[in-house]
Structure formats: structure tokens, C-alpha cells
Amino acid sequence: MKEIALHLLDIAENSVAAQSKNISIHVHEDLPQDRLSACVIDDGRGMDAATVQQVLDPFYTTRSTRKVGLGIPLLKLAAEMAEGSFSLQSELGNGAWVEAEFRHSHIDRMPLGDLASTFLTLLISHPQIDWTFLYRVTDENRQSCDFLFESAELKSQLGDISLTEPEVLTFLRNMFEEGIEAVAPQTVAE
């Protein structure tokens, strides 16, 4: 994985597989604190304490098509390489909370990447889920700027029109690209 945004796509797919109805992705670039945090929160079936420990092991997976499950271990490694941390909290029947944190300026911190594409892909692929995407940037003057998207409102407006109609796609892509660009820090060295 070359981008934090790709990891988020991957982790969110776990949430989908766990039969979540609501999934939130929060990304926060906190420049004065020199931190970047990304979390995925779902209300899916959750895991018991033993499973929470197991998913950190690359040789654990719930799927039957292959014998390794690399998604979570890869993200944990990426965070730890950049003076960050990783945490996973879950209870059986009570959803899951995955958070990865990085030192923003760390040379090994992978770029945030194409958040707009990740959000669009998730929304299009799983229209039945209520998504919340929050991208927050706190600048040097401690001013925060947010891009917030909630799919429930969009769905009520669109009714039975598919998200993959060309006009709708153009609308959504522009909304994500422009919304995220407007919030992103000016000096993007990515």
C-alpha cells in the first residue's frame, strides 16, 4: 500500500464484511501537533477480545479463500514506522474502532493519498451503507477546517436513481475532489 487512503479503503472493507450499517471514516491532519490520525468506526458485528488480538497476526483471517490477512498488520506497521500508533477496539456485537496515528512530518509517513477516490469507491460500491466521511485539517494557527459528507442525505435526495448514472457520478466526483482540495493543507509535498 502506498497511501493512507488505500489503507482506509481496505480497513473499511472489513467493516462492510462485518455487516455494518453505519461506517464513519475520520481523517485529521493536525499540523501544530504534528500528527495525522485516521480512523474507521463501524457498527458491525464486532469481535471478542481474543479475536482482537488475533487480527494483528498476519496469519489470521476470517476468509476461506486464502490463508493470510494482511490488512490490519500492514496498517499497524505503517503507523509504527512513522512514530505513530495503532489501536483497535471492539466488542462482540458492538462494532469496531480502528485508529492509526502517524507523526505528520516523519519521513517514513506514507502520503495521505487520494482520499476523494477512496470515498467515491466506498460510496459507489456499497450504497446500502450510511457513510460519514470527515476530513479535518488544523493549521498552524489552530484553525480547523472540515470536509464532511453524510450519505444518508444524498440518498434521500436521489431516491431510486443509481449512483452510477453518469451525471450523478460527475456530481459526486467533483464534490469529493473539490471539497477535499479546499480543506487540504496548502503545502502538499506529496
Binding site: L120, F149, Q157, T164, L169, G179
Partner: protein, 122 residues
């Protein structure tokens, strides 16, 4: 914060799409499925998906459902794309980068001619 750019714009888009739907005689069920397991994503499935959506947008193709599936156990062939046209059996493509995705959309999804050289046997 502008969660949705403009609700009026969205309503207009909805009306346009509705009209188009009525024009279409038999939409049929066209599905394009991109595999998005960890293996698929690491191999570039998001770019493949982006390319599929880009084709729909630029060529104004109506009535295609784009969805995803997890790892199907052929990680070495990722990114994998499956195409289902109406009642026909599913066609599975391997190593679908952005360019191959454009070809699949044009030749298979639009013109009904599967791309033999990219099909993998499952």
C-alpha cells in the same frame, strides 16, 4: 460545511436521470464487479475502479451497476474485474489496470464482445 454542494443541483440531476431512464426500453442488468480485498487494493484496484467510473462518466453510459467483491483467492491475478451482462454467465478478467478497464468497458460492456486475451478461468 458544504456537505452536499447544492441540493438544487442534485434535484436537477435526479430529474435528468429519471427522464433518461424512461427513454431506455430495456435496461437489462449490467454489473461490473471490482475485487477489493487487501490484495486487490494493493495491486491497484482503486485505479481500476476509477477508470471504470471515468468511462461511464465520459461516455455517458447509463444503467451499469458498479460494485465490488472481496478477495476471491486469485490474488496473483489482481486487480480482478467481473462482468455480468443480463442473464449471461459471469466473465472474469485478471490483471485489469486502468487501460484494460477502459477496453473492457468499451468492447464488452458496451459492444458485448468479451476481451478474450484478458479472461481468466476460475
Amino acid at each position: 460545511m458544504p456537505a452536499i454542494k447544492s441540493l438544487d443541483e442534485l434535484k436537477r440531476i435526479r430529474e435528468e436521470a429519471l427522464q433518461k431512464k424512461q427513454l431506455k426500453a430495456a435496461p437489462g442488468n449490467i454489473q461490473v464487479i471490482v475485487a477489493m480485498g487487501t490484495c486487490g487494493i494493493a495491486a491497484g484496484a482503486r485505479d481500476t475502479m476509477k477508470s471504470v467510473l471515468n468511462y461511464i462518466e465520459t461516455e455517458k453510459v447509463s444503467g451499469v451497476t458498479v460494485t465490488q467483491t472481496g478477495c476471491i483467492g486469485l490474488c496473483e491475478q489482481e486487480p480482478i474485474v467481473q462482468v455480468v451482462l443480463g442473464g449471461q454467465p459471469k466473465v472474469v478478467y485478471g490483471k485489469v489496470d486502468a487501460q484494460v478497464a477502459q477496453k473492457i468497458m468499451k468492447q464488452h460492456v458496451q459492444d458485448g464482445q468479451p476481451l478474450k486475451e484478458n479472461i481468466i478461468q476460475v
